[in-house]
């Protein structure tokens, strides 16, 4: 082959690579949003669910999809789609996620257990943004229907905030007469989640549970509680975009024990993603008086562009100032 022929083949290869690059570029990031909205509006359930997942991963740049996601999460339809659409909203728009919460909260009191359990699942899918729904969830924690109780426990676990109320609900569920509910309640303690001294005796009791699966999981939970993890590991994770939300919730669960995270949490009050700012404020709230040095940063964040973040900041300030007042008395 002549050098020219070889050059031509290499040129064609470069052209092929450029075409593939353009195709990838067109189908990712904000450019993919219109096509994903179309998929959401279609009739193919799998395509709708995958589109919701992709939009969730995109976060704020997918803002154009909020009305469609909101409609899918709240209007009567297929429950799996409700869950995906609701779960996609928090990283994109906190206020829209709160609207879903408001739409589903009254359904926790519905006479139909299927509606109650779907409502609990959707509130759980919203994650920590559904913090104001925790009291209502605790209100049906003794529901006569086992599946409803199971969904309530799972929802409490994924919402995670406020930690004291969530822990109270989980502790109740550890004594549930049905093993599936006990299993769901013990699971968060078994995988490195935060435990506390009040929970440990209950977990020890469960190691003798009549159900082997619950007993085995409780053994893991006891082992995990005996080696509590400090805040430092979660502080390190705060610099990694993907694991940041999880670490912020874990720090919030640690409460005053996460005091060493206060400077980092204060700096995250100006993070780009509203969900990070919201969770940073919530973590500072649960740290309480030990987060006093974050007060100036919190005061500045009272002007945050996102109303849900502003609300979380105000709650954090109230909690820190109240606990400080109590300490000084």
């Amino acid at each position: 082959m002549t050098p020219r022929q070889i050059g031509l083949q290499l040129g064609l290869l470069v052209a092929l690579m450029a075409v593939l690059g353009i195709v990838y570029w067109q189908h990712t990031g904000v450019r993919a949003v219109p096509a994903l909205i179309n998929a959401l509006e279609g009739n193919d359930l799998q395509a709708q669910m995958l589109a919701a997942q992709e939009l969730k991963q995109m976060g704020q740049p997918a803002a154009a999809a909020v009305p469609t996601l909101l409609e899918l999460a709240t209007e009567p339809g297929r429950s799996s789609l409700h869950l995906e659409a609701a779960g996609a909203l928090p990283p994109i728009d906190l206020s829209a996620a709160r609207k879903v919460m408001v739409a589903w909260l009254p359904k926790l009191q519905d006479p139909d257990p299927q509606v109650r359990r779907e409502a609990a699942s959707i509130l759980g899918a919203l994650g920590p943004v559904a913090k104001p729904a925790v009291r209502s969830l605790l209100g049906i924690a003794q529901d006569p229907n086992t599946i409803v109780r199971d969904r309530v426990v799972r929802a409490l676990e994924t919402i995670g905030l406020p930690p004291d109320l969530v822990m109270e609900g989980l502790r109740q569920a550890l004594r549930d007469p049905d093993w599936t509910v006990r299993y769901a309640a013990v699971a968060p303690f078994s995988f490195g989640e935060v435990s506390n001294p009040e929970t440990l005796p209950l977990l020890r009791e469960l190691t003798q549970d009549s159900n082997q699966m619950v007993a085995r999981l409780a053994q893991l939970a006891v082992a995990s509680a005996e080696r509590p993890m400090g805040a430092s590991r979660h502080i390190l994770m705060l610099d990694q975009g993907n694991g940041r939300a999880h670490s912020l919730v874990q720090l919030a669960k640690l409460g005053p024990r996460a005091a060493e995270a206060v400077p980092k949490l204060s700096s995250l009050l100006t993070a780009r993603r509203p969900i990070d700012r919201y969770l940073a404020a919530s973590a500072l709230e649960s740290i309480g008086s030990a987060a006093v040095e974050a007060v100036p940063a919190l005061r500045q964040s009272l002007q945050d562009a996102d109303p849900v973040v502003r609300e979380a900041v105000a709650e954090a300030l109230r909690r820190i100032e109240n606990t400080n007042r109590q300490v000084s008395r």
Binding site: L10, Y24, H27, A47, Q53
Partner: protein
């Protein structure tokens, strides 16, 4: 006249290896997905193609990116084959035969190894399955020179 013919054959062979490597390397993950969907999940060709289209850019699947990643060693090998065969001395038939056997053996090994890995990863799905996609290009880059050497070593027995 014979040299002209030999040159044409060698050029065609080189181009065939070059483009086959590029296209097969890119499409092996997609073909594996389609075949596994049809064999394991009893889907029709149409359904399998629909699944492929849905999962090309879907988070957690990214079959488009998987294909690009899989194609990397194939592209490198194709470029090697283009120069190695394209610039081979046409008049030295023995050398051309040896190089051709080496290139063919390496291409075959790359295709077989990649197809088998993708098929097994999909047939036995596992949470850590994606690790196979990360390491496969590196393994293929190691497999290619070994297979080429084997091909060249076998060439004298084929082209006596």
């Amino acid at each position: 006249m014979t040299d002209v013919n030999s040159n044409r054959i060698l050029t065609l062979f080189t181009l065939a290896v070059y483009w086959t490597c590029l296209l097969i390397g890119l499409t092996i993950p997609w073909l594996a997905t389609i075949v596994i969907d049809m064999l394991k999940h009893d889907q029709t060709l149409g359904q399998a193609l629909h699944q492929l289209r849905l999962h090309l850019f879907a988070p957690g699947y990214n079959l488009f990116l998987v294909a690009l990643f899989n194609a990397v060693p194939f592209v490198l090998f194709a470029v090697f084959a283009l120069f190695h065969m394209g610039r081979a001395p046409v008049h030295d038939r023995r050398l051309c035969g040896r190089r051709g056997a080496g290139v063919l053996m390496a291409a075959l090994a790359l295709v077989m190894f990649s197809a088998w890995t993708h098929a097994m990863t999909l047939w036995h799905p596992d949470a850590q399955g994606a690790i196979a996609y990360l390491f496969l290009p590196l393994v293929l880059l190691a497999v290619a020179p070994v297979a080429y050497a084997v091909g060249r070593a076998l060439a004298p027995f084929i082209f006596r």
